[in-house]
Subunit: 120 residues, 4 copies
């Protein structure tokens, strides 16, 4: 099984939406696909407008697996704060990444999604 | 007629929406454009979070044709299960691929679309 | 002024929405940006699911101009039919292209947009 | 910290939405991520359908920072006019850029987003 993808991904526009008071709840998700035959160790850097970036504990995406990480929830105890943020992912194996936001601040949900910008 | 496109495409974020009880029904579609002069034989691999991928029966996209495959419906008898999935497409001829989701879980529909991530 | 962009662009998923009976009306638009210093002559090919493609009369995008073409309306007398279609653009000068759909079939509008897939 | 990204970005489809009369207000945002270790000086060119482009005062994105510029508001005294426009960004350091529109002309908001088209 061939392994395509990139070792680095960027998402400029992150902004955690309000969860709302009933399902479906507003959230932001980061989806990582690892089509290759080696597990991927992914380092996620979180950028802000007015301070130095944070680096999250390394996340794993198994070989031949997709992983959906709800990034509006705490990740190994780290909570991305409210307001503008951006992400960089650096992976030990080639992966393909997309972000999705569900916004429910008005009666109907709205979606916002982009494929990441690949580097390397 | 020149033939541009890629032989492999990735879609990290698939999640079949509820159909709802009246039209327009929620669905997910995979759109494949074959601008070249040879038919394309497309192998679709479906990835999951917690088990090995499935491989669908080969699909054909005719020369100089676009094909819209409703991937929330059974495909040659194979039903993608509910929950997170991802797709890889491998094509014998260069194609260009996009995915679209219509979500009707709230009174108004919401759209979610990305161009695939090309490889090769 | 440098001229970046591509000479060919693909949009797999076109589907003209119903206009609805009051503004804002449902429509599909093709937006072409020509950042260079020469006018661009653009040949647009329309692909279908079950017949040979059509080729539209050549469209011009002026040097250092953006052009928004409402592709749900007739273009020099040619009307894209209802149902699935796809587009290829071939340009004499490098351009950058995006498509947008406004869907008003339910009380609220929904948006659907992708940057084109560049070739060349 | 490695610096990936591009020195030039294009956004064909800009169209400032009506703000509406209550929050959340309709707006358009340009999000620029500078993952590198040097500040980025960004020159933004605004293209129109029927006249020569405008060039905005140089904007800065700090090293290891993301910046969200609300481009529907005046930028250093320059107001992008209503109607179709497009953007080119030229940056002294590699950056990654995305645009987002919130449309509230109907009771529910609708989102419209693309990653920019990278050049260079």
């Amino acid at each position: 099984m061939s392994a395509n993808g990139s070792h680095a991904w960027y998402f400029p526009d992150g902004d955690i939406p309000a969860p709302g008071d009933r399902p479906p709840h507003g959230h932001e998700s980061l989806i990582m696909l690892n089509p290759g035959d080696e597990d991927a160790a992914v380092t996620i850097t979180v950028y802000f407008e007015d301070r130095e970036p944070d680096v999250l504990p390394v996340q794993t995406v198994g070989a031949r697996r997709v992983r959906c990480l709800t990034i509006s929830d705490p990740i190994d105890g780290y909570q991305i704060p409210l307001g503008q943020y951006a992400l960089k992912l650096e992976s030990s194996a080639p992966i393909i990444c997309q972000i999705g936001r569900m916004d429910v601040q008005q009666p109907n949900l709205a979606y916002y999604t982009v494929m990441g910008h690949p580097a390397d």
